[in-house]
């Protein structure tokens, strides 16, 4: 065993890759099988009109079904794709501001050192713990137009509620409502951890200068928690493009396609209509959209995210 004299402290000094390999082997094998190979196969499938039923590895399979970029062309020139993208954008435009406002409210309320704050934290987190399937079922019942809880509660105030999930105009806002309800505790606690990290000295100085609570929130809290807000925006946008279980359970894409979104389409093309090639191409388009959005956010962060504190 030769020991090089100059080695970084804290690292085992012999073996190199040979020592590391047994430790890396399981996750490397996993990466190959569950991530890299599927990525490659998916790219290949996206260039075919394969239906998912024929033997994949039969000789001549790929050549026989090869359609080049045909799937991508077909998707991008279909009316449906743009409609689906429009639906997703509608969801995002409604969801992100509402979610951010609700999460900020959660974070503000939980940041106060008051009695019962632990109980509130537990309560706000219960929707997060619930599986999406259970949450969707619960809300499907709550939103039921005639016998549901929400419209009957609204009726107390003399408001006649819409048909929610059965109404083309209200189905997507209803999905947004449920998503905000489910996610506000999760993102709220992330924002809270950003809020707690702020140096108390800033607040004391501001109070001496006569700043009220409102001014302190806008001038100190909000600017200094921009890293947490940035993180929440990145994660929530990625999640928004992958919107799926709530759609499947509550509307199944309806009414009249008003809540069809990308993952729901991918799932149905692949596993209901047996158009694997088309579905694979669709998933790559989704991948590119997510990457572009994340990239734009990363680039844009210098303008507004404050890493000074």
């Amino acid at each position: 065993m030769s020991q090089p004299r100059k080695s970084r402290p804290g690292r085992l000094r012999q073996g190199g890759l040979r020592t590391a390999l047994p430790f890396l082997a399981p996750s490397l094998a996993g990466m190959l099988v569950f991530s890299l190979l599927p990525l490659l196969i998916s790219a290949c499938i996206s260039l075919t009109d394969w239906n998912g039923l024929d033997q994949l590895l039969a000789p001549g399979m790929f050549a026989e079904h090869f359609v080049g970029l045909g799937n991508f062309q077909a998707i991008l020139s279909s009316k449906e794709f743009w409609q689906v993208l429009g639906n997703t954008c509608r969801y995002i435009v409604l969801y992100i501001p509402c979610m951010l406002a609700a999460s900020l409210a959660v974070a503000c309320l939980l940041s106060q050192p008051r009695r019962g704050v632990t109980a509130f934290r537990v309560i706000y987190y219960i929707p997060v713990l619930t599986s999406w399937v259970a949450a969707s079922l619960i809300w499907k019942s709550v939103l039921s137009p005639q016998y549901g809880a929400l419209n009957n509660l609204l009726a107390i105030f003399g408001i006649q509620g819409p048909g929610w999930l059965l109404d083309e105009a209200w189905a997507m806002p209803a999905i947004v409502l449920v998503s905000v309800w489910k996610d506000m505790g999760f993102f709220g606690l992330i924002l809270l951890s950003g809020m707690i990290g702020i140096d108390k000295g800033y607040y004391e100085a501001a109070s001496l200068d006569g700043a009220g609570p409102w001014a302190r929130f806008w001038r100190i809290t909000l600017p200094l928690m921009t890293p947490a807000i940035f993180y929440v925006l990145i994660v929530s946008l990625i999640n928004a493009f992958q919107l799926f279980p709530q759609i499947m359970i509550m509307t199944d894409g309806g009414p009249n396609g008003a809540t069809q979104v990308m993952v729901e389409r991918i799932y149905k093309y692949g596993f209901r209509y047996y158009r694997m090639g088309y579905a694979a191409a669709f998933s790559w388009i989704l991948f590119v959209i997510i990457m572009v959005c994340t990239f734009i956010q990363m680039k844009g962060q210098e303008r507004w995210v404050n890493y000074d504190s």
Binding site: R13, L109, V133, A149, F287
Partner: protein, 274 residues
């Protein structure tokens, strides 16, 4: 003084309002689950069922092997969690405590794979699982746990903070690399591992898309899949659906209550789904 009191009142008004919003759907779930079929369509609606009954619960267990489903969910989530912890902690150990060429690049590859959405890999994975006959096999939903780049990343961050002295001491005592990993590193990372265990357990317990593709046999389904199947079959029988939902929530709520502090720690960590 009155100003302070008003602020307090405003605080509690807002906090309670938000709590009500968070809880009302669950109250509705509990209430509905104790209703008979007929009471589902009574106007005005009953927040407290006039004639509470356990029929819906009986129906859930009658029409679906629900006990078995709960067992499936538990078994899968536990195996999934253990596999993630083992594989990710080993990889993180190699990345932080063993020097080898290309470790930085490799870690970069791990991070890059976090960008790949599950929807891209699910079609080929479905095809592969189908070909090797793993559909309706528990392993089809457990095995992917072996590669969770996020878990690796989180443990790398954690292990970097552990000072080298511990390892040097063990090394001088003649401990093998595996013993150092097992008996020095793992105990030192216990809090991070606990946090990771809980977030992974929850991910697996609540997972929908992948088990939906893999577990189509009633006897093999996990709770979310069983619930969505019930949704397809008893579309308007909300009492049955609510009873099933309520049962599915109990275990995770119990875990939450008993392991609250690890949940808190896991927050920043649990970010991206899938």
């Amino acid at each position: 003084m009155t100003r302070k009191r008003m602020a307090g009142a405003a605080y509690y008004a807002a906090a309670v309002l938000l709590a009500v919003i968070a809880l009302v759907p669950f109250a509705w779930m509990v209430s509905t689950s104790f209703k008979s079929r007929g009471a589902l369509m009574s106007i005005p609606i009953e927040w407290i069922p006039a004639e509470p009954t356990l029929d819906a619960y009986a129906t859930v267990f009658e029409r679906f092997p629900f006990l078995r489903t709960i067992g499936n969910s538990l078994f899968i989530a536990v195996c999934y969690t253990l596999l993630t912890l083992a594989s990710a902690s080993m990889a993180a150990f190699a990345f932080t405590k063993i020097r080898f060429k290309g470790s930085g690049v490799l870690l970069g590859v791990y991070l890059a794979t976090m960008m790949i959405p599950t929807q891209v890999t699910m079609i080929p994975l479905f095809v592969v699982m189908n070909q090797i006959g793993l559909i309706n096999h528990y392993s089809s939903v457990i095995l992917p746990a072996i590669f969770r780049p996020f878990a690796v990343f989180m443990l790398v961050q954690q292990m970097r903070t552990i000072p080298p002295d511990y390892m040097d001491a063990a090394r001088i005592d003649g401990a093998s690399t595996f013993r150092i990993y097992r008996q020095v590193m793992l105990p030192l990372c216990a809090p991070a591992l606990a946090t990771l265990a809980i977030t992974n357990f929850m991910d697996s317990w609540n997972d929908y898309l992948w088990p939906l593709l893999m577990l189509t046999d009633k006897a093999k389904m996990t709770l979310p899949i069983a619930l969505s199947t019930l949704n397809g079959q008893y579309d308007t029988e909300y009492n049955v659906l609510m009873a099933g939902s309520l049962i599915s929530m109990i275990p995770i709520i119990l875990i939450y209550i008993f392991a609250q502090k690890y949940f808190k720690n896991g927050l920043m960590a649990g970010g991206v789904k899938g």
